[in-house]
């Protein structure tokens, strides 16, 4: 490969004083001075959260206000930083949700560990865990950053969807009983 040495053009006398360049620079900054600022005034103005944003993982309830999670622990399994802890319990026979049989007794997500990868949401067969658009969570202690079930439901709220998997299951069960 041929080496080509490019000679730098010698500076003219005016350029040697640097003054024109400095003036150009000053012009640029002066122009910037009068441009509107691009800063977001954070607590009052919030950034637009795009669709599919992976914020804080939450637990959601179905359209009937019942908890969707059945404690299958797949999220606990798939969670790369092992932030999720679930203890399951059997639902009382004959109860309102008895046809589901299983529910989480405790459901904890350690938000200090969570990396917001969204695997839990992706793996959840019941669509019970959703990453929502809340991106700033804080607490005064490590313990406070381990969100329990109550807190997760409070963050998650109700998510209306059209699956009604367990409701259909219940309907089928009752239809069978009528036979």
């Amino acid at each position: 490969m041929a080496v080509k040495i490019l000679k730098r053009r010698p500076l003219s006398l005016l350029e040697k004083t640097y003054l024109p360049q400095i003036l150009i620079g000053l012009k640029i900054t002066l122009r910037n001075l009068f441009r509107p600022s691009v800063t977001l005034q954070y607590p009052e103005e919030r950034p637009d959260i795009p669709e599919g944003y992976r914020g804080v993982p939450t637990l959601v309830k179905d359209a009937n206000g019942r908890e969707k999670c059945v404690a299958c622990q797949l999220c606990e399994f798939v969670c790369p930083p092992r932030a999720i802890r679930i203890t399951s319990r059997e639902l009382e026979t004959g109860g309102e949700d008895a046809h589901i049989e299983k529910a989480p007794d405790e459901f904890e997500i350690d938000m200090l560990r969570c990396i917001y990868c969204g695997y839990c949401q992706e793996v959840c067969p019941e669509e019970a865990i959703w990453l929502q658009d809340v991106f700033s969570i804080s607490g005064y202690s490590r313990e406070a950053m381990v969100f329990d079930k109550e807190k997760l439901y409070q963050l998650g709220g109700t998510l209306p969807d059209n699956h009604f998997k367990w409701d259909r299951k219940k309907a089928e069960e009752e239809a069978a009983k009528r036979h």
Partner: protein, 569 residues
Amino acid sequence: MSAGKVTDGRIDVFIDGEKVRCPPGTNLIDLVEGMGKEIPHYCYHPKLSVSGNCRMCLVELGTPAMDRETGKPVLDEDGAPKIMYFPNPVIACATRLTSGMRVRTQSAKVRECREAVLEFLLINHPLDCPICDQAGECLLQEFATDYGRGYSRFIEKKVVKPKRTVLGPRVMLDDERCILCSRCVRFCQEVVEDDVLGFVDRGTYTTLTCYPGKQLENNYSLNTVDICPVGALTSRDFRFRMRVWFLKETPSICTESSVGVNTLVGSREGKVYRITPRRNDGVNDTWMSDSGRALYKRIEDENRLIDFRVNRLPVRPEDALSEALRRLQGDKVAFVGSGQSSVEEHFLFNCLSRAAGSVLNCLVSRTREGDGFLISNDANPNVRGALCLGFIDTLPEANLTGLAEKINRGEVDAVVVHNEDLTTAGIGRSLLEKVEVIYLGSHGNGASETASVVIPGLTVFEKSGTFINQQFRLQKFLQAVPGPPGVLDDLVTISRLLNLLGKDEGRLATPAAVWAVLSRRLKCFEGISFDTLPETGALLDGSAFRSLPFCEGPSLHFEPETGTVEARA
């Protein structure tokens, strides 16, 4: 090579074109499994009779054509025997191999059959894997990934069956998940001979149920849960407690009796969740008692010992050991070992007793009525270990009359006890208070309450070692969970005491280290090392102890020698 040529009684068969030699009459599924391949199946179980109702194991089968007149194989143009394939696929589980058989386990036709069978099996399946305890070890899931369609073509209403039928005190039935393979029915009929399960109703409404007025409550009922290929039968103890994929399975040995049932201990993060049998065709096949499965609950027992104590006050471990050492250095020390200690512990305990100049070594017996299957009369899993190591030369006694007499006569002023309760073994509290008791054990009892030095120990789930079962089979168990914080392994404790006494054995604090010495020192253990001991154990020569009147009756793979039984009688 001509087909059917019999050499050493074995025959040649061809699985997917690969020549395999096997004894005639071998089950096709077992053979293929031995080759490292798999024929999917639900109803077949190697330890149960063949029922052939799931139809999942369909394969294409061919035999060499025979000339009816000559009885000779028909040859084709190349001189090779002509193979006649059956027009329809056959089930592999009911196929006994004969010479020259050709099997296609992966052909397109076979695949199609399996896909169809699986689709039918899944028609009424509730698809509640998220809440199903079988998920993760479910054969429906496994084969669905291989042969499943991915979606359902079934648009009609599914049959709804009862979801939570209680079959017995330990077993729960989810009828919707049942694929009617009848493994559980056959198990109850054939293995435990407690014929309580059966099918009622017809067609898609067929339901597994107990006979009216009966329950699945025999001591082997949880085996039905193990062999259930789907999530229909679940253990009420384990139900919903932990997903199986989190469980770390550690090979272990059941301490329930001298049968030495091979087990797997399922634990997660230092907590044991369940115990399942581990296949050992020489000991327990694939079975295990329900009572043995509950033993893990002793880990978190209320009277678990955690503190090192001297005169009932907690002390530092080294202080407890030096206190124990001070009492050991008298010349009137007796040693009470345990039939539940491992071989290694027996060895070090024996070394300790010799170093301390023991006046008496004894073991406490634990006998009861066995069931002739997997629970023997002797509830001590490792009496033979103590015998082989020479810690004792007579069988254990229920009442330690010899020790009691010596205490009374003042010939013993310190007793080292490993895990045994002397107060229920013929030495009352008043008698115990005459001597200094050094108690080493995992759980508190009458002996530990009166002991002047208490050193906590580990349970079988928290340590590694070996047991010698009633067949003189040396079997290995491994540590499944860590012990309570601060508690030393019994081996470490005893080896430290030996070390303090200036003995060489003080360096041997792990089973592997003990075995390195043991295999050289004792003839019956020659050539054995802890790491290479097979999972199914190693049979030792027990002929030296033939004259001893062992209390055991017959069990699944054990027949007591007639002489001893008579002697016992």
